[in-house]
Amino acid sequence: MKYLDEYRDERIARALVAELHRRVTRPWVLMEICGGQTHTLMRYGIDELVPRQITLVHGPGCPVCVTPLEIIDKAIRIASKPEVIFVSYGDMLRVPGSESDLFRVKAAGGDVRVVYTPVEALKLARANPQRQVVFFGIGFETTAPANAMAVWQACREGLRNFSMLVSHVLVPPAIRLLLGSPHNRVQGFIAPGHVCTVMGYREYEALAREFHVPFVVGGFEPIDLLEAISMLVAQLEEGRVEVENQYARSVNREGNRPAQAIMQEVFEVCDRKWRGVGLIAQSGLRLRPEFAAYDAEKIFDVAEFSAEEPAECISAQVLQGLKKPVDCPAFGRRCKPESPLGAPMVSSEGACAAYYQYRRVATVS
């Protein structure tokens, strides 16, 4: 398949690994920001191919993992209402809230449905005028434009039974927090290719200048990641600090302007809690007041509802790249995908789940 097979080619992979071995002279700590990239690294065992001097740590870019506990609890409350059809992307259903998850709500009679685009939620709203259709609008900049479009479309059609529970998060503020931490040890970043497809990479140029760290925008196939690592190491070894674009078949510097415009029109930037990390200023998106009629938090009166996570939990350190999943005493023992203790073990993009699924032999047993 074009754009896939050539990015999963053993010969090219070997050549890139050899080049990387020639290039590296010192230890470097690199972070891939996006959970999709973590997934590929683990699935293809890329962390074992790269030279020993390179440490790969895994970033906070798993949308399922960072959605705060209280939003999951709000989703569960709304989805439990008999008049509601609650519509979500599939991997949110298993994420544990304080006491339950959406799968259990479904098992208890809640009408919870899985879709892979918010457009399907609009269809459900049109087809079920007597029910309230609520879409779970989560994710990074990648999913925000489609979700914004759904709200915009609902508004244009005057759909009165559609709303969205919004908990969007933005990548750059989280990276800024990480870089500003005295504990930061990350020296170079692989920027998230899908987020940059929407947003471009100007924001990362500002971060690179401010903190003097290089970025390479990377894709999601094994060859993409090997190439991005190689480009990043080249910058570090040569003392360059730039934002380079490995994922040029999808990303340009300006990003997708119409997508950004619809996001701007429907959402505004707000402070947002990240699961396992805490409150990050200006790191989220919420519906603008003009779209309040489509805000599920307001319609179902759950806005004030809050849930506190234990202040100290290792998932915080995993999501910030300070620790690896295998450093957790519960990893693979009490905490497994079928009985997750924390969100990073739930989604296949979560660092813990990726380690567990692909690397258990090397790590646990």
Binding site: M1, L4, R8, D9, E10, R14, G36, M42, R43, Y44, I46, E48, V64, L69, V87, D91, R94, P96, G97, E99, S100, F103, R104, K106, A107, A108, R113, V114, V115, Y116, E120, L124, I138, T142, T143, I223, G276, P310, E312, C313, I314, Q317, L322, C328, P329, R334, P337, E338, S339, P340, L341, G342, A343, S347, S348, Q357, Y358, R359, V361, S365
Partner: protein, 352 residues
Amino acid sequence: MSDRPKPEFTCPTPLPSKGTILLGHGSGGKLTADLIREIFLPAFQNPILARLDDQAIMSVDGVRLAFTTDSFVVQPLFFPGGDIGSLAVHGTINDLAMGGAQPLCLSAAFIIEEGLPMETLSQVVNSLHHAAESAGVQVVTGDTKVVEKGSGDGLFINTSGLGVVPEGLCLSADQARPGDGVILSGSIGEHGIAVMAVREGLEFESSVASDSAALHGLVAAMVAATPTGIRCMRDPTRGGVSSALNEIAAQSRVGMLLDEKTILVREEVKGACELLGLDPLYVANEGKLVAIVAPEVIEDVLAAMRSHPLGERADLIGTVTEAHPGVVAMRTLIGTTRIVDMLAGDQLPRIC
């Protein structure tokens, strides 16, 4: 980090793991295995059931009978390449065939939801009849129940099947041995993707048709080629090739090493899987089998399979290993090795 007090590990989100049945308990993955181990096996304890094969095999007056049952709850009822009726025939015949049995006859029980259009029922029944006839078996007994609207999802079908296992043939999932070959009969993931593409909420344009087919003819050809070299077979339905091989690895206490390059996935299936964030190794098949065969008969079995229409694309996809018992590993396309784990529940489409 070292100057900070080490944070005590606290579990952020403990949830009771027991309590109610979730959809994942029916996924064919780990949750299903737990249910069988914790609820069903202790209740029904007997040596035939304890083998955990797709069918029970018992001797009656010197005849080795294979007996199996399966329920079909597919939604939608009709999908490209088949429907719940043909599936109910193929699924049960295949469960018999995986024990090496040739099917004799089937039962069919219908649980019908009030309000189902008569036309729908007769279409399904005709399809079931046609599938049974093409497979050379008859439906010799049946049952009908109607449940109130809201208590069922249109139509559920249960079929049971009876078959005969040739003398001397003894296939079971605990017989894989290090050095054996792992054979797959063709391309994977077609049934799962065909059904997903027409399921409400996930509809996408797709030309993929289900691979639903009765495999007893293919099995007969394999058995004819080597009456004793086949250790066991599974049809990788729910949970896909990964779950089928993990079950065999666990029951035989062996490892497996697959080669990703040799696992055939059609372009359309690959595309749909990429789009939805699914791994084809976990997607359901209804007309494929995996076989564990002794090293000396691999070529004979492959030749026999390739000369049968349902096994034309059969290939050796891996070997059974002594190393890492209970774990299925795979050499990836880029030459590294990873685990092919059994999933906890259903594979869920990813967010992005």
